[in-house]
């Protein structure tokens, strides 16, 4: 699983990567996940239905992230323009 973050001037940057089935990796992923949420970022997990339709799920806790997710994408929170 990869945790990536959208960033002005960069595109996306890799924050952490690991195997959620490995305890050390999972701990690192959870820590980074919390850190990004503490910074106020929103997190989304891209998903696909069996038919191939693309979707996304907003997550507020690492436990909400599907175990088989490839990546979690963090991005700045929405603000009225």
């Amino acid at each position: 699983m990869k945790l990536v973050r959208m960033k002005s001037g960069y595109g996306d940057v890799l924050l952490a990567e690991g195997d959620v089935d490995v305890a050390e990796d999972e701990e690192r992923l959870v820590e980074e996940f919390r850190r990004q949420l503490d910074l106020g970022l929103w997190a989304a997990v891209p998903t696909a239905t069996p038919g191939g339709r693309r979707e996304a799920v907003m997550v507020r806790s690492f436990s909400d992230v599907p175990r088989d997710a490839d990546r979690v994408i963090f991005f700045p929170p929405a603000a009225g323009g």
């Binding site: 001037g9 960069y10 799920v57």
Partner: protein, 208 residues
């Protein structure tokens, strides 16, 4: 009578003079301190912005990277639509007949526009942004493809939350309604063409 007025004026002048003598230095010090602090705040704002110098090369690289992320998330079909049209359509959940009743057009760094999927009538404009304030040196603006992806994910994952965060206006607040209608026509033509050349109709993330 004149004497009384003269005494009154004199007392007023004396009182004002005493106040200036008594409180003048403190008042001046307070005014100067406020000016100094305002100047410091202004300098800090200028310094924070002053380092941001747009670098076309860096921004182009960031855009290419963001496009790859967008492609990976929304899939080649929808990405092709975005590249061809300059915006990304997203539809709401289907009605009983299996067709969505409304949709949104996602423009990079422009408001979302909702529309009636059957009549193509424009419904509302939603002004929303995702300012990245983490590094003032690079500005607050995400690459276009990241902005589109952020809107797409937020719409797919929490439509109500995004709409609640946005400022809603009637169509025409920021985007030319005639241009948006032309975009909807282009979308219809593009979808019809994709249908004839590729078989299945583009889904663009229609909720099921």
């Amino acid at each position: 009578m004149a004497m009384t007025a003269l005494v009154g004026i004199s007392l007023g002048v004396i009182a004002a003079a005493l106040m200036v003598v008594g409180f003048g230095p403190d008042l001046l010090a307070w005014i100067n301190e406020r000016r100094r602090r305002a100047g410091e705040r202004k300098l800090a704002r200028i310094a924070a912005r002053g380092h941001y110098v747009p670098d076309p090369g860096r921004e182009l690289r960031a855009e290419r990277k963001a496009e790859q992320l967008l492609l990976g998330v929304i899939g080649p079909e929808a990405f092709e639509a975005y590249r061809a049209l300059g915006f990304l359509p997203v539809y709401g959940p289907p009605d009983a007949d299996g067709r969505p009743s409304y949709g949104y057009l996602i423009y990079p760094h422009r408001p979302l526009v909702s529309f009636d999927a059957r009549s193509r009538a424009l419904l509302s404009e939603y002004c929303v942004a995702f300012p990245d304030r983490s590094e003032p040196a690079h500005g607050e603006r995400l690459p276009d493809a990241d902005d589109v992806l952020a809107k797409w994910m937020a719409l797919r994952g929490d439509e109500r939350g995004l709409i609640a965060a946005a400022n809603m206006h009637l169509p025409g607040r920021q985007l030319d309604p005639d241009q948006v209608r032309r975009d909807l026509s282009r979308l219809g033509e593009w979808s019809a063409e994709a249908l004839t050349t590729a078989g299945p109709a583009p889904s663009f993330g229609v909720a099921t």
